[in-house]
Amino acid sequence: MKRRDFLRNSALMAAATVVPSAWADDGSMGTTPYAVLAQGSPSAAVKAAVDGLGGMSRFVKKGDKVVVKPNMSFSNPPSWATTTHPEVVKELVAQCVSSGASRVLVLDNPLKDVELCLEKSGLARACELFPDTSVLGLQDRKFFREIKVPEGVDLKSTRVMKDVLEADVLISAPVAKCHSSAGVSLSMKNLMGVIYDRAVFHWRYDLHTAIVDLCSAVRPHLSVVDATRLLSTRGPGGPGKVIELNTVIASADFVTADALTVSLGEWYGRKFEPGQVKHIRQAHERGLGRMDIGNLDVKKVSA
């Protein structure tokens, strides 16, 4: 990443995270909550959640290039809750398109065979009718470009999808699921799908630290967690216990979105504090976002 890009992105991020949190803190400008939990059918919940944050037009301006990063890493059906629900992605893409996005790319670097993942997850079909929209699984190295991670503790550089680096807006749209190494796989862990070499996170770095490092360099402007159903055991690949929550969590702060999902859900039959997931705690401590959800303006809506 060029320094200028980095500065611009950082400025955008600061605008996206600091400004709303300032509103929330003084409590007087309650019109735009810090995060929204919306209940309802997948598409209605996404719409309500994003509308609650001020609408997609707050994030996507006319002519913007948008990347939506769902989890489509597995060739499992949506009912397994290992991949983002197709209706969730479809609604997000629809909103980006109607906000005037010039190009919407739904991207992942899937763990399994690309074609199978696109087909079985239902994401390819969900997005096929939108103009200027493509669903792509990118695995060839030519699609990635190396960037520095200036704030990285473990991870100092990594190859990131060129399309993500060139996008004006990045939306992280994971499914809510547990993860036997990372605890949970939400909007932060989801970003491991925009890089080329994931394995190094496991064998060279501390997984949690590297996830936070990555998020410091590639920050989503909006996080929409699909907790319409939540994989409560045996994640990330499943099959495990799936809990129907019919909820979508949205925030401009990815740490908050993940923290809310952790406290909302039940994991292996029990409840956890956000701070019990090391990468969420570390991101909070490093100032990338906030996990102290009790202090934040979180709006609950029904759709």
Binding site: D140, S180, S181, V184, W203, G238, P239, W267, V277
Partner: protein, 549 residues
């Protein structure tokens, strides 16, 4: 262009087309291995070695039948190796040398060799050792195009894409940005190239030297073409100018242009078209003709047979031989993982002709040619290379394209139960076990849900266990294991299921094997009993990935 050239070009195009279409999804209307099935030497040799009737390559017998009518048309019109040789001879063969070498009696003597090759190979086949892979023209040419030509073309395409990448910024060329050619890689490609190139370079000696002198399929067809119904006739207009002798690509015309060795004639019709007098036609002969005797010599035949038997015996006694099913020592030492549906090893090696169709069709590129791990007669037979790629759960293509039934055709449902091996964890290499790192890649990639992450006393992080009765041996875990060099989880043939007939599903049921991830959904996280420092305030062990607050 001459008629024969046109047909040859069209059929060569068909061969390339079918080879190209040997990929997912397979065309339903034509078997992509059609050309391999037509090789009569494959038919005879494989059925003798396997001691059974095999349906698909029986087409080769039909080719022999047609040879009785029109001679060795197969060599001149159909055989893709013949077409390749014709093409390369244009550059390799010295025209002056050809004329010289076609004349004189030595030519018809050297063509005896191919019969001796045939005798030797069939004698080895009688012992159950199939050397078909080595000299069957169709196995050889298919393999050469798959292992040598195809990957090189892909690489060229990738280079082309890289060069035109800048164009993707232009309007209308946006698709170029995501255009992608997946490279495939094959072991033994260089060796295959040497053999292929060597055969083409033989054209330096004579045109179609391979077809005249070595090809066992050519020999077989020549035996059926001694006196075909339609054959070369020369009428009285012949002026003995000798042009046809010099131009015959097979050297099938002796010093006397009216005498033809029909077994050598590939019916290319070149002599008919070139003859300045129009004295040659191919038809039913009206008058008796001088025949060319085929005297192999009893001693030579006996020597060839003895050589074949010796080669067969050697293959059987060699250390890596898979022959001798009675010996548990031989069965037990194999480390090869064969494709799902591969018949029991000895039968497999007898059937496999190393044509490479399965390797071409394999969507993950895990099927790789074996060098000598399965004995000399197992050369170029397929194995899975788990470290490089896994065997896709929802794919049964290799069994669909195998022309000799070495890999059985299994329905997708059946194929899921064709266990090809079992994964085991090398705990001393596993970074979750040994270095207490947060790694779960084998668990998340496993399509059969055969790996469970469990908490153990000694480690902070959860560690993988393999449930062997769920493991199909697909090898995705081994492929994705992030440990460099030898993976910390590896597949061995232990527990493989190899059936020559019958249902894999019912076999699996009998032995309690489960290959459906869904069937495991009831299984819940059951942590081992944990020491106190790893329990939370309520005295419960933490599920994997979470920390005590």
């Amino acid at each position: 262009m001459r008629f024969q050239r046109i047909v040859q070009l069209v059929l060569f195009g068909c061969f390339i087309f079918l080879l190209w279409r040997a990929t997912y999804p397979l065309p339903g209307w034509v078997p992509v291995d059609l050309f391999v099935r037509l090789d009569p030497f494959v038919s005879v040799s494989t059925m003798i070695a396997a001691r059974t009737w095999i349906g698909a390559p029986a087409w080769g017998f039909a080719v022999l039948g047609v040879s009785l009518v029109v001679g060795r048309f197969f060599c001149g019109y159909v055989c893709p190796l013949g077409s390749t040789i014709d093409f390369s001879d244009r550059f390799i063969c010295r025209p002056a040398g050809r004329a010289f070498r076609n004349a004189g009696p030595s030519q018809l003597k050297s063509c005896r060799w191919k019969y001796l090759v045939l005798v030797a190979l069939l004698c080895a086949a009688v012992l159950g050792v199939s050397y078909t892979f080595l000299l069957s023209p169709l196995a050889l040419v298919t393999r050469s195009y798959v292992l040598v030509v195809y990957p090189v073309l892909l690489q060229l395409g990738r280079l082309g894409l890289a060069l035109t990448d800048a164009l993707s910024a232009l309007p209308g060329f946006g698709w170029l940005r995501y255009a992608q050619i997946d490279q495939v890689h094959f072991g033994t490609a260089f060796l295959s190239m040497l053999l292929f190139l060597g055969i083409l370079l033989l054209g330096r000696i004579q045109s179609r030297f391979w077809c005249r002198t070595i090809c066992p399929a050519g020999a077989l067809m020549a035996l059926f073409s001694r006196r075909p119904l339609l054959r070369r006739n020369v009428d009285a207009k012949c002026t003995q100018c000798g042009l046809c002798i010099r131009k015959c690509p097979m050297g099938a015309i002796k010093e006397d242009p009216t005498v033809t060795a029909h077994g050598e004639c590939i019916v290319c019709l070149k002599c008919r078209d070139l003859c300045p007098e129009g004295a040659i036609d191919f038809s039913r002969p009206s008058k008796p003709e001088k025949s060319v005797s085929l005297d192999l010599g009893r001693r030579r035949v006996l020597a060839a047979g003895a050589s074949g038997i010796a080669a067969g015996l050697l293959a059987i006694v060699e250390l890596d031989s898979v022959h001798g099913e009675s010996s548990i020592r031989i069965d037990r030492r194999s480390t090869l993982i064969r494709p799902p549906g591969a018949v029991p090893e000895e039968e497999f090696v007898r059937r496999c002709i190393g044509c490479g169709e399965c390797m071409k069709v394999c969507p993950t590129n895990t099927l790789q040619p074996v060098l000598l791990e399965a004995g000399v007669d197992g050369l170029w037979s397929p194995k899975t290379h788990a470290r490089y790629a896994g065997c896709e759960q929802g794919c049964n293509l290799c069994g669909q394209v195998c022309p000799t039934g070495a890999i059985r055709f299994l329905s997708l449902e059946e194929k899921k139960y064709a266990k090809i091996g079992s994964a085991y964890i090398d705990r001393s290499r596993c970074i979750a076990w040994e270095e207490d790192r947060k790694c779960l890649i084998c668990d998340e990639i496993c399509p059969y849900d055969a790996i469970v992450m469990r908490g153990v006393r000694a480690n902070t992080n959860s560690v993988p266990y393999v449930n062997e009765s769920r493991c199909n041996g697909c090898g995705y875990c081994e492929q994705k294991c992030p440990v460099l060099g030898n993976a910390a989880i590896r597949v061995s043939p232990h527990g493989e299921v190899r059936l020559s007939s019958g249902s894999y599903q019912s076999h699996a049921r009998t032995y309690g094997l489960v290959f459906h991830a869904e069937e495991g959904m009831k299984e819940e996280f059951v942590p081992d009993e944990m020491p106190e420092e790893k329990q939370d305030k309520g005295g419960r062990s933490l599920p994997p990935g979470f920390i005590i607050d």
